[in-house]
Amino acid sequence: MDRLEYLIESCKKNDRSAQREIFEMYSAKMLGICRRYCKTLEDAQDMFQEGFLKVFTNFDTFKGESSLETWMKRIFINGALNQYRKAHMKHDHVEFEPELHDTQANPDDDETMFSGISSEYLLNSLQQLPEQYRIVINMHILDGIGHKQIAAMLNTTESNSKSRLSRARVMLKKLLMKRK
C-alpha cells in the first residue's frame, strides 16, 4: 500500500492528520479551480472551504474508480455549478450582453497580441466575464467537459452552450485587448 492509498484509507476513518496531509497535497490546485470559477477571492475561499468539507465528509463514497484528484475536482466543479444554479434561480437574467462583433480584424495578430500575458492577468480577465460565460469556458476549455454534458449540467441546450462559449471567447479577447 503506497502513501496515498494509506492516506485515503485513513481519511475514510476520519483521521484528522491524514485529512491534513491530503489537504496540503491538493489545496493549491483546488483553490486554483475555485478561483477560476468564482468572481472574487472571497467567493473562491468560501467555495474552497465548502468543497473540502464535502470531500472529507463524503470520503467513504470514493471508490477509487478515478484518481483522487479527478474525484475531488468533480466535487469542486459541482460545488461551483450548485452555486451558479442557486444564483440563477434567484436572478434569472444575463448580467450583460456583450457586443459580439470582433474588433480584431486580423486573427494572425493574436499570437503577438497575447504574448506575455501572465496567468494572474488572464485569471483576472476570466473573472470579469459574466458567470454563465465563465462557467462554460472553464468547463469546456479547461476541464474538458463536452457541450452535451455541459448542457445537461446547466439545464440548457447544446447549441446554447456552444453559443455561450463563442460569446465568452469574444468577450475575453476584448478584455485582453484592453491591456494594450
Binding site: 493549491a28 475561499q45 473540502f52 493574436d110 499570437e111 497575447f114 488572464l122 485569471l123 476549455i141
Partner: protein, 427 residues
C-alpha cells in the same frame, strides 16, 4: 490558426492546472468546521435515537390505550353505570329506619322489602377483570359529608348498613339516593382519572455542557488562523447545572403543557498558553488577514487560566406526554423551545482576530436574548398521591448565536440527568 484556437490555447497554457497560494489559516478553519460537523453528527445521531424512542413510546401508549377502551367489559360497565344514574329514583331507596333492608339476594324470596327485579335493574355488575380502581370511582361518587345528608340518610348511616355491600361476589347493591349532579363525572370516566390538572415541580440537573464554535459567514475571514487550535487546546473541562421551577397543566391523562423558570450555569475550565509570533494586518479591502512574522523580540506570550461561567435564566415552553407503567411509576417525555436570557458572564476569552485575552464581563459581543430547544425523558415515581420523584435525562441546545458582532458563532449545549420533586397542587 483562428482566433478561437488562440484563446483556448492561451487559457490552457496559463490556467490548466493553475495553482493558487493557500493561506495557512484555511486548514484551521476547515479543521474547526470538521470538528463541528462531527459534533453535530453525534448530536443528530442521539437526537434521532431520542426521537425514535419517543415515537415508539407514543405508538405503544396509543396502542395500549386503544386496546384498553376496546374491552367489551368496559362498555357494559359504562352502560350499567349510566343506567344506575338515570334509573335511580330517590323514593325507591328511602330506607325504612325501623326495618333495615336485607340486601342479600339469597334472602330475596323471604324478604318482602327486597324486590328481585329492582335488584336486577339497579345492581351494578362488576365485570371480571375490572380493577379496584373502577369500584373506587363508584364509591367515591357516593361519598357525601354527614352534614349534608337528609334525615333518612343519617338514619341509614346510624343503622350501620353499608352503602355498598359485597355479599354477592359480582354484585354491588344499589347506591344511596344522592343528588344526580354529584354523579356527573361517572359518564366521563372512559379513560383513567386525571390525578390533578396542575402540577408544580422543582428539579436540578447536573450536566455536561459545551459549545459549538463555528465561523461566521460574513466576518469569518477575521478569524486568526491559530484561533480554533488554541481554543481547542485551552478548553480543558466543561460542565454545568440547572435548577428549574416547573408548572405543568395536564390537558388529559396523557398530554400536558409545561412552562416555568430555569436558572442555568454553563462553565468551562480554560488554560491559555500561547505565543503570538505574527504581526497581523487586517486588510478590509481584500477581506483577509495578512500575517507577517514578527521579530523574536516582539513576540507576545498569552497565558492565563481559570473558569469561564455563563449564567442564564430560561423560560421553557414544553409539550409532553406521560405513560403510566403501574400505579407508582410513569414515564414522561417532554420537549420544546426555551427562551434564554444571558444574565452574567465571567472569566476570560481570547480575541479571535488578534489572540489577546479579554475580560468576559467587559465583552459586548454577546446576545442577551437567545432561543434554544430542549428534550427530556424519564421516570416519575409517586412518593405520595400528591408528590412525585423524578429522574430523567435531558438535553438542551441554543438555536441562535450567542455571540454577536464576532466572527465566531457560539452555540452552547448541555446534556445531563434531571433529579427533582413534583407536586400536584390542584385536583
Amino acid at each position: 490558426m483562428n482566433k478561437e484556437y488562440n484563446i483556448s490555447k492561451l487559457l490552457k497554457q496559463n490556467l490548466e492546472g493553475y495553482e493558487s497560494f493557500v493561506d495557512a489559516g484555511q486548514w484551521d478553519v476547515l479543521s474547526a468546521r470538521l470538528n463541528a460537523y462531527d459534533r453535530k453528527r453525534i448530536l443528530l445521531l442521539w437526537s434521532n435515537v431520542v426521537v425514535g424512542f419517543i415515537i415508539l413510546l407514543l405508538f405503544s401508549t396509543a396502542f395500549f390505550n386503544s386496546t384498553k377502551t376496546e374491552k367489551p367489559h368496559s362498555k357494559s360497565m359504562k352502560n350499567n353505570s349510566e343506567k344506575t344514574i338515570v334509573d335511580v329514583s330517590p323514593e325507591v331507596f328511602i330506607p325504612n329506619p325501623e326495618k333495615p333492608i336485607d340486601r342479600n339476594p339469597k334472602n330475596a324470596s323471604t324478604n318482602p322489602d327486597f324486590d328481585q327485579s329492582q335488584n336486577e335493574d339497579h345492581s351494578l355488575e362488576v365485570p371480571k377483570g375490572s380493577t379496584d380502581k373502577d369500584k373506587g370511582v363508584i364509591s367515591e361518587m357516593v361519598e357525601v359529608p354527614y352534614e349534608s345528608m337528609n334525615h333518612f340518610e343519617k338514619m341509614f348511616m346510624l343503622s350501620k348498613i353499608p352503602a355498598f355491600s359485597f355479599e354477592h361476589p359480582f354484585t354491588i347493591s344499589p347506591p344511596l339516593p344522592l343528588p344526580l349532579e354529584k354523579s356527573e363525572p361517572l359518564s366521563k370516566n372512559k379513560t383513567e382519572p386525571i390525578n390533578g390538572k396542575w402540577e408544580l415541580g422543582i428539579m436540578t440537573t447536573p450536566s455536561v455542557a459545551n459549545k459549538i464554535l463555528n465561523s461566521d459567514k460574513t466576518n469569518g475571514w477575521l478569524i486568526n488562523r491559530d484561533f480554533f487550535g488554541i481554543t481547542e487546546k485551552s478548553e480543558k473541562r466543561s460542565g454545568g447545572f440547572q435548577s428549574s421551577f416547573a408548572v405543568q397543566f395536564n390537558l388529559n391523562s396523557i398530554w400536558f403543557l409545561q412552562g416555568g423558570l430555569t436558572y442555568s450555569e454553563k462553565r468551562e475550565s480554560v488554560s491559555y498558553n500561547h505565543i503570538i509570533k505574527d504581526e497581523i494586518i487586517v486588510s478590509q479591502t481584500e477581506k483577509r488577514l495578512i500575517y507577517n512574522e514578527a521579530p523574536r523580540i516582539q513576540w507576545i506570550k498569552v497565558s492565563g487560566s481559570g473558569i469561564n461561567k455563563y449564567t442564564f435564566i430560561e423560560l421553557p415552553l414544553f409539550v409532553g406526554f406521560k405513560h403510566k407503567i403501574n400505579d407508582k411509576l410513569e414515564w414522561r417525555s417532554r420537549g420544546g423551545v426555551s427562551y434564554w436570557r444571558l444574565i452574567d458572564k465571567q472569566g476570560t476569552k481570547i480575541d479571535p482576530t488578534i489572540l489577546t485575552l479579554n475580560n468576559l464581563s467587559d465583552s459586548k459581543d454577546y446576545t442577551k436574548s437567545n432561543l434554544g430547544f430542549a428534550i427530556n425523558s424519564g421516570f416519575y415515581y409517586n412518593l405520595s398521591p400528591a408528590m412525585k420523584f423524578l429522574v430523567e435525562t435531558g438535553a438542551s441546545m441554543a438555536m441562535t448565536n450567542l455571540t454577536k458582532g464576532s466572527p465566531v458563532i457560539t452555540k452552547p449545549y448541555s446534556y445531563g440527568l434531571n433529579v427533582g420533586i413534583q407536586y400536584i397542587i390542584i385536583k
